[in-house]
Amino acid sequence: MNDLPVRVNALQKLYADDLRGEVRAVDGVSFECRSGEIFGLLGANGAGKTTTLRMLATILKPTSGTAHLMGFDIVTQPEEVRRHLGFYSATTALYPRLTARETLEFFARVNGYPEERVPGRVDFLIQRFGIGEYQNARVDRLSQGMKQKVSIARTVVHDPPVLIFDEPTVGLDVLNALEMQKVIRGFRDEGKTILFSTHIMSEAEKLCDRIAIIHRGRIHACDTLENLRAATGKHYLEDIFVEVIGRAEAENLSRTPAS
């Protein structure tokens, strides 16, 4: 099992909040992802999806627990982890004053892609995402759809084996959201490992090979859609989600001592 691209074990992230005191944003999350798989983290807003993915991207440091990407430890080898990772989220914007081509060249270089192969890789992605006509236009002058394409190309410009998409369709219109789903599926077909977070049930249902339902920083179910259906007796993911969350809440209540 050591060759799994993503291994997460009892990952925890605690915050100290001025008003609420200690907050367990992520509370002992464990899962694994395989090559050529789309692994979905499904949860409501504030469930701990983004914090988990940010820890895997080494933007945040875990309070405890371990995680490895392509065999590299997220705490002790963060640069190696990021070299093998493409991170995309609604909040990862592009440099507005660079052109689309300059953006791709910059991220290829800064992510350690071999210098001699940078122009070829950039040309390939410009062609693949159909941004040839706008490659020399500044990013701040591109349409939203074009920016999205450049942003995806930026995520994969150094050809990482693991990709993280944190709520990638937030703020996108239907057509752009469908385009995004198509692109993610394409990456999966190329054999990349994809971690995908969303709170949109239909998206998870359509895209994910396995789904982890996360609630209050904990994963309460993690399996294929078929197995989740079998385990809960529900057909639609929405119903499965409500069932799993309901059980988790009940379990939580039964653990809480009566006052």
């Binding site: 945040l60 989220s89 300059e102």
Partner: protein, 439 residues
């Protein structure tokens, strides 16, 4: 939400990454109008332009003043000095207006007369010389026109007095040297070039400090708070570049703009001061050669690098806590004022680049520039300045590395400024020890 976890270190410094990041920052900044204007165009154009406008304005006003005619009323011309009256009547800048017994202070205050001259009988001590007279000029110092009239009238009176005394002395067989007594003669040994260096040294360092601060200001905000506001911070943080490489590249970028702004300003001033001021001063009878001594050049470069290194590091520490451009500007502003204030006092006449001054940050570097422009290179103050500046830069970088170890500051979720940070995190440990920062 406050996150108290802090990373141990920012990772290895990778110079290839630093170069890539640095070039990206430079390219991006050179396309930002506000940065180009503040860090490049203003240092080159603004101050030479301001000085040219000010000088031309002064010359223009002087011309107007020269053309303005002073209205002078004279009471009781001395009968024994008809030439004096003739002198006043011939002067084109003076118009004699009729004196009446009603003419007085009120006319000067209302502006109908600029000055009043009264010829009075000489007092006892002055009565020794036959035909001596005593003149009193009444005017108002608070009225520009009246002051000018007083100066012109006094000049004419003094000129006439000197001519008359010379004539009278000659008639008595006394030479001018005999009655003039001790003569004080001034001899300026400074060459035209040295005078130019002195004047450049007086003006340029003040602007030099200001320009370095202006040059650093926007890049410092842009590379920290601006990055957060544009949401490119997370994109960068998720790249393979180490935190150390990112911060180093940003620091070099901010320092570059500060240093370049300082050097450009000195170069622009040195180049423009000659064609603009030299002819004007020549017209006024002052011969000054504005040439930058080659020996001063390395000192100007060193000063620009040291001052920019310090200012860039300090400004980035302040701006590191900001989440928006506006917040960043507000957080940097007090430090910015602190940097530009001390050089303002450097124009105090006689202020030498002494050892005590060499210990004061910012002042020491600007004094070093001033001194170098005047072709003076005092070794001990220069050495102290270099050591002090490097120490200040090192201290700022050390503080920056401590600040950026805190994850919430690094990711921009810390809600506070440098002051609060030092109070909470460096002076008093947070109450919940398990999550407190580990060095």
């Amino acid at each position: 939400m406050r996150n108290l976890d802090s990373g141990k270190a920012g990772g290895r410094l990778n110079w290839r990454q630093v170069r890539t990041l640095y070039l990206c920052e430079l390219r991006s900044a050179l396309r930002e109008r506000i940065i180009v204007i503040n860090s490049i165009l203003i240092p080159i154009l603004l101050y030479p332009a301001i000085m040219w406008v000010a000088f031309t304005g002064l010359m223009f006003l002087e011309g107007i003043k020269e053309k303005a005619v002073s209205r002078v009323a004279v009471q009781d011309w001395p009968d024994q000095h008809p030439d004096l009256r003739l002198k006043f009547e011939r002067d084109r800048q003076i118009q004699l207006v009729p004196w009446t017994p009603a003419t007085g202070t009120n006319d000067i205050k209302t502006g109908s007369v600029d000055a009043l001259i009264e010829f009075l009988p000489p007092d006892d001590s002055a009565a020794a010389l036959d035909r001596n007279f005593h003149a009193r000029i009444t005017f108002s110092r608070s009225i520009e026109r009246s002051s000018a009239a007083q100066e012109r009238a006094a000049d004419l009176l003094n000129e006439y007095r000197a001519e008359w005394l010379t004539r009278e002395a000659g008639r008595r067989g006394i030479s001018t040297a005999d009655w003039e007594g001790p003569v004080v003669e001034l001899k300026n040994v400074a060459s035209e070039k040295e005078m130019g260096g002195f004047l450049l040294g007086l003006v340029l360092p003040v602007l030099f400090g200001v320009m370095v601060a202006v040059g650093c200001f926007y890049p410092a905000v842009d590379s920290t708070a601006g990055e957060r506001e544009r949401h490119t911070w997370e994109t960068l943080m998720s790249s393979a570049a180490s935190r150390t490489s990112i911060v180093t590249a940003k620091y070099l970028y901010v320092a570059t703009f500060g240093g370049v702004a300082g050097i450009l300003n000195v170069a622009a001033m040195a180049l423009t001061v000659k064609p603009i001021f030299a002819p004007m001063l020549k017209e006024a009878g002052i011969h000054i050669s504005f040439t930058l001594s080659p020996a001063a050049v390395p000192f100007v470069f060193a000063a620009a690098a040291l001052l920019a290194g310090f200012v860039a590091a300090a400004m980035m520490i302040f701006a590191a806590f900001a989440r928006t451009f506006r917040e960043g500007q507000t957080m940097i502003m007090p430090f910015y004022l602190l940097v530009i204030m001390p050089p303002m006092f450097l124009q105090i006449p006689g202020l030498a680049f002494s050892v005590p001054l060499a210990f004061i940050p910012v002042v020491n570097v600007t004094m070093m520039v001033r001194s170098a422009l005047s072709n003076q290179f005092p070794l001990l103050p220069i050495a102290i300045t270099l050591v002090m500046s490097v120490a200040m830069i090192a201290a700022c970088i050390r503080l920056a590395s401590v600040v950026l170890r805190f994850e919430d500051v690094m990711v921009g979720s810390y809600n506070g400024n440098l002051n609060r940070f030092i109070r909470e995190r460096l002076l008093n440990q947070p109450p919940n020890k398990p999550f407190s920062p580990h060095e």
